[in-house]
């Protein structure tokens, strides 16, 4: 019996996909917690049902493609897609909506392109956009947050009932427009008056929304600390969003796009910045590329939110930049060690 002889370099094993994905799942907890706290158990039911269906679709697709099912299911990537989609969908969504979403994400956006690592678009966001343009009514009915008016919070039993189609009529009674939507519809009130007029708004942004965003920010910080991703893409996205909203925030007139803080803590900003933009498969690869990729997403988010047709824009912005990621990669190839930039093939920068 001898000692195992290993020569240098003594490199650490890289983080496995499964470990990265587990960390990402773990990091959604604070955000999910605040969503549940303010909007009831709808989001949890969404996530649960999305996970079940996503895993089933993944297993089905792998069986069709004659790939090892256990091996690919164990990398948790389908589960991450399911979590992100479940969080992005309105709480209390009907079961078929979620099922169509996960089916589209897993079967069409992921497995048809070759499975994990080959998909050009973020599956969760592509599915979200597909659902949004297909079912605008169901996708824009958000529950009213706790404290905005005297409505009951969605309990676990009610959330399940709504999801699986019993008593859906009564759900209309406890829905209201999201803060981004209210801001979009507004064309006569000053921002300050709007804040007092509508009960959706809280300290900085919408009630509940601000805390959900802070929750995802915390989760993202944790992932950054564990070095699951680098800071480049999320920070540059948040920076460009801040710059855009500062530039076009004229002190709160009726035509204003809302304060920077409002944009940072509204809609899916933080979820997008730390969980979607950082997707290693569909984003740009080099650090410089990531900065450009993130910055352009931030600009697009603001442009679509304020001048576009839809109240929230993270999904659209991410999909548009997914298109552009290979192009960005082409022009931001880093210099390899020992070469000058000109020597490299295709390195044109």
């Amino acid at each position: 019996m001898g000692f195992l002889k290993v020569s240098s370099p003594h490199a650490h094993g890289p983080m496995s996909t499964a470990r990265v994905m587990r960390l990402v799942l773990l990091a959604t907890i604070p955000g999910l917690f605040s969503l549940t706290w303010f909007f009831g158990f709808g989001s949890l039911v969404n996530v649960l049902w999305a996970s079940i269906t996503a895993l089933s679709f993944e297993a089905l697709a792998l069986k069709w493609r004659k790939r090892p099912i256990g091996f690919y299911l164990n990398d948790y990537s389908a589960l991450v897609t399911a979590f992100l989609l479940g969080i992005a969908l309105p709480p209390g969504s009907p079961f078929w909506l979620i099922m169509i979403g996960t089916g589209f994400a897993i079967l069409i956006c992921k497995q048809l392109y070759g499975g994990m690592g080959y998909n050009p678009f973020n599956p969760a966001m592509a599915a979200y956009v597909m659902l949004l343009i297909s079912f605008p009514v169901q996708m824009t009915t958000w529950l009213a947050p706790q404290g905005s008016f005297a409505g009951d919070l969605l309990g676990p039993i009610d959330a399940l009932r709504y999801c699986f189609g019993f008593g859906r009529d009564s759900i209309d009674a406890i829905t209201m427009a999201t803060p981004l939507d209210v801001l979009k519809q507004n064309n006569s009130l000053l921002i300050e008056d709007l804040w007092q007029e509508s009960s959706q708004f809280g300290q900085f942004a919408g009630i509940g929304w601000e805390w959900a965003n802070i929750g995802f920010l915390l989760g993202g910080m944790y992932l950054l600390y564990r070095r699951v991703f680098t800071w480049h893409a999320p920070i540059s996205m948040l920076t460009s969003l801040t710059v855009m909203s500062t530039l076009f925030y004229d002190g709160g007139s009726s035509a204003s796009g809302g304060s920077p803080l409002f944009h940072l803590l509204s809609g899916a900003t933080m979820l997008g910045a730390f969980f979607i933009v950082t997707d290693p498969v569909t984003s740009a690869v080099s650090n410089r590329g990531r900065v450009i990729y993130g910055a352009l997403i931030g600009i697009l988010v603001y442009v679509i939110r304020v001048w576009g047709n839809y109240p929230d824009a993270v999904a659209f912005a991410v999909l548009l930049m997914n298109f552009a990621a290979p192009f960005i990669d082409h022009y931001t190839q880093p210099r390899t060690y020992g070469h000058k930039l000109k020597d490299q093939q295709g390195g044109k920068s």
Binding site: I100, I108, M130, I133, S134, F135, P136, Q138
Partner: protein, 237 residues
């Protein structure tokens, strides 16, 4: 080329060289107006007529048009045919004409038609050319209608709506509602749906083709008794 059989022309137009799902020509109307069966049928019929007429005319003038001016000549013929169809539709199916809108005059630029004129009609006699145009048109219209049917069913939960635009008042009752109280899946009617379902139809055709090929390969895959090869990895012919 001139001794090509009608059987072969038919097989080419309908399946092996189908303009819509193999040559992938004329995708613009294919994607744009196949939101329902009636739109697809109107577009398919118009394209089919134009193809037949233009192929016949091109084949007639094939010995007079020199190489240098053949393309302008073809385009003139096609444009004339399209104008006729357009006027016909204005006269007899005005509402459908309005629904199809810009895509009717755009048949002029449909690559299927110029493609067939240049690849087949100007090298063949009148009758085969006419038949080729007709069959290519049928193949195109068939895919258009298939796509229209799939998108209409998924997008609206019903099929054969508004058939009276083309078939008169009696066709109003043709509409079949498959699912009552259906939540419309708008994506199927919107442009992304056209791309997704076109892709699926192409994939389906490839699956069928592979199946046929495998079955034929299985038939012929008998190693000759005198064969001396030790390791047999593929077909021996």
């Amino acid at each position: 080329m001139s001794d090509i059989s009608y059987r072969e022309i038919s097989l080419n137009g309908l399946w092996k060289n189908n303009p819509a799902i193999v040559q992938l020509l004329g995708l613009c109307p294919l994607l744009a107006v196949t939101g329902s069966v009636i739109n697809a049928l109107g577009m398919g019929l118009a394209t089919m007529l134009v193809l037949t007429v233009s192929n016949t005319a091109v084949s007639m003038i094939r010995s007079f048009a020199s190489d240098a001016i053949r393309l302008p000549a073809f385009v003139m013929i096609i444009a004339a045919a399209v104008t006729c169809i357009e006027l016909l539709m204005q006269a007899f199916a005005y509402e459908l004409f309005q629904i199809l809108g810009i895509f009717l005059p755009l048949i002029t630029t449909n690559c299927v038609i110029l493609g067939r004129a240049d690849a087949f009609a100007c090298k063949n006699k009148v009758l085969p050319a006419m038949y080729d145009g007709f069959i290519m048109g049928v193949g195109f219209a068939f895919i258009l209608m298939l796509l229209g049917a799939v998108r209409e069913v998924i997008g609206t939960g019903a099929i054969f709506a508004n058939m009276d635009l083309l078939f008169g008042e009696g066709a109003k009752s043709w509409k079949i509602v498959l699912v009552d109280d259906y939540t419309a899946v708008l994506v199927a009617i919107l442009p992304p749906g056209a791309f997704i379902f076109t892709g699926m139809i192409i994939a389906l055709k490839n699956i069928i083709d592979t199946g046929i090929k495998n079955r034929e390969a299985a038939k012929t895959e008998k190693v000759a008794p005198t064969s001396r090869r030790v390791r047999v990895t593929g077909n021996i012919s």
